[in-house]
């Protein structure tokens, strides 16, 4: 069913935008930041506040979510995260879980525990028929935005100097430093960018996913699955992984609702058994 394919792609692309930041920080800094979802939540709640309290148009919320989450990311990175780069993965896990707790409770305190709902601008609502599929306008919008972002990302990473410096730092940080690349600056910038993207994803997803204080914990699993399946060495890996997972999840739930939940986990386990570095990872000897 084309409709389901379409829905799956929309869901997958949203997942991609949400997870790509985590993927890059993991690949680049080898830092397991489970609190990535908290930045997405920040973007989502910011959108809620801006729209519901101040009546600002949805279209302004998107860049605002990106910028504010990016700033938040930079601040946290400089103050807290950077102290943990040398620590073990376990310490990083512990730290990021602590951060999730703080974020969840803080949001709960300020905004309450119920789900937040935003009302999209009227012309983003509705559906239409196209080639036999029922297309939701908003999901089309999500696909377009995410598609543009992906293209932009690919361009930045593949074609700009910053991108090549980033790739160099990912491949081998020490050598990169030796070549005079300011790896610390790249870390900070990349982290900011990744958090910004997460915030944007949160803003986009506020209408599709449920936005409440437990968001980071609920969706952390999905982000991690995307990364595990897609690998951390490329951008295209997680991209295709998210699409695959989005479609599989949606299609699974549509055709066989009773085992809906299994599909996404089983795929991940199977992929990891046969290709521990992820489906699309380049074989880098690390």
């Amino acid at each position: 069913m084309l409709t389901i394919l379409f829905d799956g792609v929309a869901y997958g692309m949203l997942l991609f935008v949400l997870s790509v930041g985590l993927c890059v920080t993991l690949g680049l800094m080898n830092f397991i930041n489970l609190a990535h979802g908290a930045f997405a939540m920040a973007g989502g709640y910011l959108t809620v506040v801006m729209m519901n309290w101040y009546g600002i148009s949805f279209y302004w919320c998107l860049p605002a979510a990106f910028i504010i989450s990016a700033v938040l990311g930079v601040v946290l990175e400089r103050t807290l995260y950077s102290r943990l780069y040398d620590k073990t993965h376990l310490d990083q896990v512990l730290f990021s879980i602590g951060l999730i707790f703080v974020a969840t409770a803080a949001v709960d305190y300020v905004m309450g525990a119920s789900q937040q709902i935003i009302n999209l601008p009227a012309h983003l609502n509705g559906r239409f028929e196209f080639l036999g599929a029922s297309i939701g306008v908003y999901r089309l919008f999500v696909i377009i935005i995410c598609g543009l972002l992906t293209v932009a990302l690919q361009f930045v990473i593949g074609r700009t100097r910053f991108g090549s410096r980033l790739r160099a730092s990912v491949d081998d940080g020490r050598v990169a430093r030796g070549l005079g690349i300011d790896v610390t600056f790249i870390f900070a910038l990349t982290f900011a960018f990744g958090s910004g993207l997460a915030g944007l994803g949160g803003a986009l997803g506020a209408s599709i996913l449920s936005m409440d204080p437990t968001f980071p914990l609920k969706y952390m699993i999905y982000f991690l699955i995307v990364i595990a399946v897609g690998g951390t060495t490329t951008i295209t890996g997680p991209f295709f992984a998210s699409i695959l997972l989005g479609v599989a999840d949606v299609a699974g739930k549509y055709f066989v609702p009773s085992i809906g939940g299994f599909i996404i986990y089983s795929i991940m386990v199977l992929v990891l058994i046969f290709k521990p570095e992820g489906l699309f990872a380049r074989s880098t000897k690390r």
Partner: protein
């Protein structure tokens, strides 16, 4: 060797801290304690808040003295994990010597304490959990809230009377959800309708779209929805997004999907939705108007919903029981006192069935309409004294 000393000292002090933490409170004859176990953190937190707010409002309105005793309300968070609920219940009974337990946001939480209250002979007032079987699991359970079958049967009747021949049900896959779909199917098919498919969505479900799409493609006359109230918002969003109304499908359900607390934020698209439930904040009675006004004053930004009123009525039942026993806290006597109680609550008339200790109440059919600029469930029909159909 020094390092080890401190390790040991640390371990010792940890246990000592545990010592210090729980001081045995004297079993003062003049104080009657009520242990309210609510889920205040996690996905069900919103309902826990409503419950506590409703209970506290009752105490604010009626004072804390009953039958010569002072009432103390102890509120605990069980984080929605059943073995926590049980442990907290045990601690409340053993340490604080509570005369009542109350709360229970989810079915497994209530079921977990069943053996405890039976053994300790302490009445437990159910203020939320909606699966029928709970009250059968211990003679000390008394429910003042609702059961899903009780709420579902009226909407099934309404559907049958209003031209619904085929229906699909979409529920969250857990106790109350299963109860709802089964009760609906049974009643609709008794009246000549047919439930084409029963779709179950996982409880912790991020995306309703595929399930809704599947329901839509089956082209039924009506779609029955049930999810726990805190997730109703995002479900209704998706319902609107899928344009089920445009496909000619009537969306119906129990009042959980038009929860008063979230109704306003669902937007105008849900106007016209028909649900059956026992409480609406727009219920037209002086008692309810007072309840709603004072609730809003005490809790700015919140509108009371069916869980708040259950918390409120739970306190009422406990107060009245104490009055009947003259302040005595014998568990069995308190339960007896509650059997057969009948009173007017902000929701309307309700009573406790002496045979099943479950709530019997009026269930209203309501429609979502705009009133004074806000969305409300406006009652337009009522089924009186509905009992839970699943109890023997």
């Amino acid at each position: 060797m020094q390092r080890r000393t401190v390790v040991a000292g640390l371990a010792g002090s940890v246990f000592a801290a545990t010592f210090a933490g729980g001081v045995q409170s004297a079993a003062a004859q003049e104080v009657v304690k009520i242990g309210l176990i609510a889920t205040l953190t996690g996905p069900q937190a919103a309902s826990g808040r409503q419950k506590v707010a409703g209970a506290k409002l009752f105490m604010a309105q009626h004072g804390n003295k009953v039958a010569g005793k002072t009432i103390e309300l102890i509120v605990k968070d069980d984080t929605g994990v059943a073995d926590q609920t049980r442990r907290i219940a045990q601690e409340l009974i053993v340490n604080d010597k509570v005369a009542f337990l109350a709360g229970f946001s989810l079915t497994p939480l209530a079921l977990a304490v069943a053996p405890v209250i039976t053994q300790a002979k302490v009445p437990a007032i159910i203020m939320t959990a909606g699966t029928s079987v709970i009250t059968e699991r211990s003679p000390y359970f008394v429910r003042v809230s609702f059961t899903l079958p009780q709420q579902t049967v009226p909407i099934a009747e309404w559907a049958a009377k209003n031209g619904v021949k085929t229906a699909v049900s979409l529920v969250s896959d857990y106790g109350p959800g299963i109860d709802t779909q089964d009760a609906f199917k049974q009643r609709l098919e008794e009246r000549g309708g047919k439930v084409v498919e029963q779709i179950k969505a996982p409880l912790a479900n991020p995306e309703f779209a595929p399930f809704l799409q599947r329901a839509k493609d089956l082209k039924p006359d009506a779609l029955l929805l049930f999810v726990p109230a805190p997730t109703a918002g995002s479900l209704m969003r998706q319902v609107v997004d899928r344009d089920l109304a445009g496909a000619g499908i009537k969306v119906i359900g129990t009042g959980d999907i038009t929860d008063d607390d979230q109704l306003n934020s669902m937007g105008d698209a849900v106007i016209g939705l028909i649900t059956s439930h026992f409480y609406s904040a727009a219920h037209d009675s002086p008692l309810n108007k007072k309840f709603v006004t004072e609730f809003k004053q005490a809790n700015p930004g919140m509108r009371p919903n069916f869980i708040a009123v259950s918390g409120y009525d739970g306190m009422y039942a406990m107060y009245e029981a104490l009055k009947k026993t003259g302040g005595k806290t014998d568990g069995t006597a308190l339960v007896e006192a509650m059997k057969g109680m009948k009173w007017e609550s902000p929701r309307g008339m309700m009573s406790i069935d002496p045979a099943t200790r479950d709530v019997v109440q009026d269930v209203y059919i309501r429609k979502v309409e705009k009133k004074d600029g806000e969305l409300y469930n406006i009652e337009f029909d009522v089924v009186k004294d509905v009992k839970d159909p699943l109890h023997k």
